[in-house]
């Protein structure tokens, strides 16, 4: 009886019982933390498929198109353009940028594309293609390597995907 009276007096004095509110807040926080991806930064890469036939707006180009293509094979990268494939040092059948052990050499690809860019300043397009079994991660790596070298040196940001090489 005395305890009841005491509680009544406390409540009347303006003491708010925060425990139910705490329960709700804790549950909400747990739910949001498990379902939210707010702490992970997602981004996107713009990609387009090459136009087939006469679709799309006609482009006025003084120079012939470069058609810069990076083909991903199991041995490395083949870099090609209108007129031919950039040869590997010392061999015409090996990829332009061979693999470094088991890993693809993205730094060498960027270096090679900087050379291409210095010769074709206005070109922004690159076609990416590859073996049917090429992993998506490698394609993203090639897009990164061909997009830019550092924050200010933009290389070939317009990426087009082309169906794989049939072997």
């Amino acid at each position: 009886m005395a305890r009841k009276l005491k509680r009544h007096v406390e409540e009347a004095a303006g003491e708010l019982n925060l425990v139910p509110y705490m329960d709700i807040v804790v549950n909400l926080i747990l739910f949001l933390m498990l379902s939210s991806t707010g702490l992970v930064q997602f981004g996107v890469i713009n990609v387009s498929a090459p136009a087939i036939g006469g679709g799309g707006e006609p482009e006025e180009q003084k120079d012939p198109p470069l058609n810069l293509t990076v083909a991903i094979s199991s041995k490395g990268f083949f870099v090609a353009g209108t007129g031919g494939v950039l040869p590997a040092p010392g061999s015409s059948t090996e990829p332009s940028i061979p693999k470094l052990g088991d890993k693809y050499d993205y730094a060498a690809l960027t270096k090679k594309l900087i050379e291409v860019k210095s010769a074709f300043r206005n070109e922004t397009k690159v076609i990416v293609t590859g073996d049917p079994g090429t992993a998506y991660e490698v394609i993203i790596g090639v897009m990164d390597a061909s997009r830019q070298d550092g924050p200010n040196n933009i290389l070939f940001p317009d990426v087009m995907l082309s169906p794989g090489i049939a072997q």
Binding site: S36, V44, I45, N46, A49, A135, Y136, E137, I139, L161
Partner: protein, 205 residues
């Protein structure tokens, strides 16, 4: 000789808490320090008593929780598209600086293709779509699902001038997805008015 009022010794009022006149400055200082110490001890004792009374002050905790809750709700609401990772889908990292935009999401996980969170077609153990589901490059069920999405978005754009159907598709693919599967999906999307693709990646800053 009668004593004048000036000759009388000065009377000390006992109510005044002043030190006696015969105390030196050092003694006064010492007494003051002791008084201060006593006061501090009393305060500390009171605080300890309060702490042991069993009443927990949860107001500060509440403040922290409320701030976390507001932050989480805001970040939850500001994401245009929900992208989640799991055992079946691990998104590759990239150096891109572009942020996620609102688009129709198409997920290619290790086990299947999902259009707007609805499983549409299964991916086999070799990482490819079942050839029975395909006609050349075209994956029939994916085409149907995307067509429905396109019609749905077109209908919304008819009633809401702010919404415009641009044929934008957000591809959320597992990092081990095979290029063949990816090109099949992109070809299929291209056949049903989705001509612009955005590949979802994790920003590697």
């Amino acid at each position: 000789m009668a004593e004048t009022p000036h000759d009388k010794p000065e009377m000390i009022d006992p109510s005044i808490n002043a030190p006696p006149l015969h105390h030196s400055a050092a003694e006064i200082e010492k007494e003051e320090a002791e008084a201060r110490e006593r006061k501090l001890k009393k305060k500390a004792k009171k605080r300890v008593e309060e702490d042991h009374s069993g009443e927990l002050n949860i107001v500060a905790l509440m403040d922290a929780f409320t701030i976390i809750l507001v932050f989480l709700i805001k970040s939850y609401a500001s994401d245009p598209t929900q992208i989640t990772q799991g055992d079946d889908i691990k998104i590759p990292t990239s150096t891109t600086t572009l942020s996620v935009v609102e688009a129709v999401p198409l997920v290619i996980s290790k086990k299947g293709v999902l259009v707007n969170s609805q499983a549409v077609v299964r991916i086999m153990d070799n990482g490819l779509v079942d050839p029975a589901e395909k006609q050349g490059f075209l994956i029939g069920r994916v085409a149907e699902a995307l067509k429905k999405e396109a019609e749905h978005h077109k209908m919304i754009s008819r009633f809401n001038s702010k919404v415009k159907f641009e044929g934008l598709l957000l591809i959320v693919a597992d990092k081990d997805t095979k290029f063949e599967t990816l090109t099949d999906v992109l070809f299929t999307a291209g056949q049903v008015e989705f001509g612009q693709f955005k590949f979802a990646v994790l920003k590697n800053e």
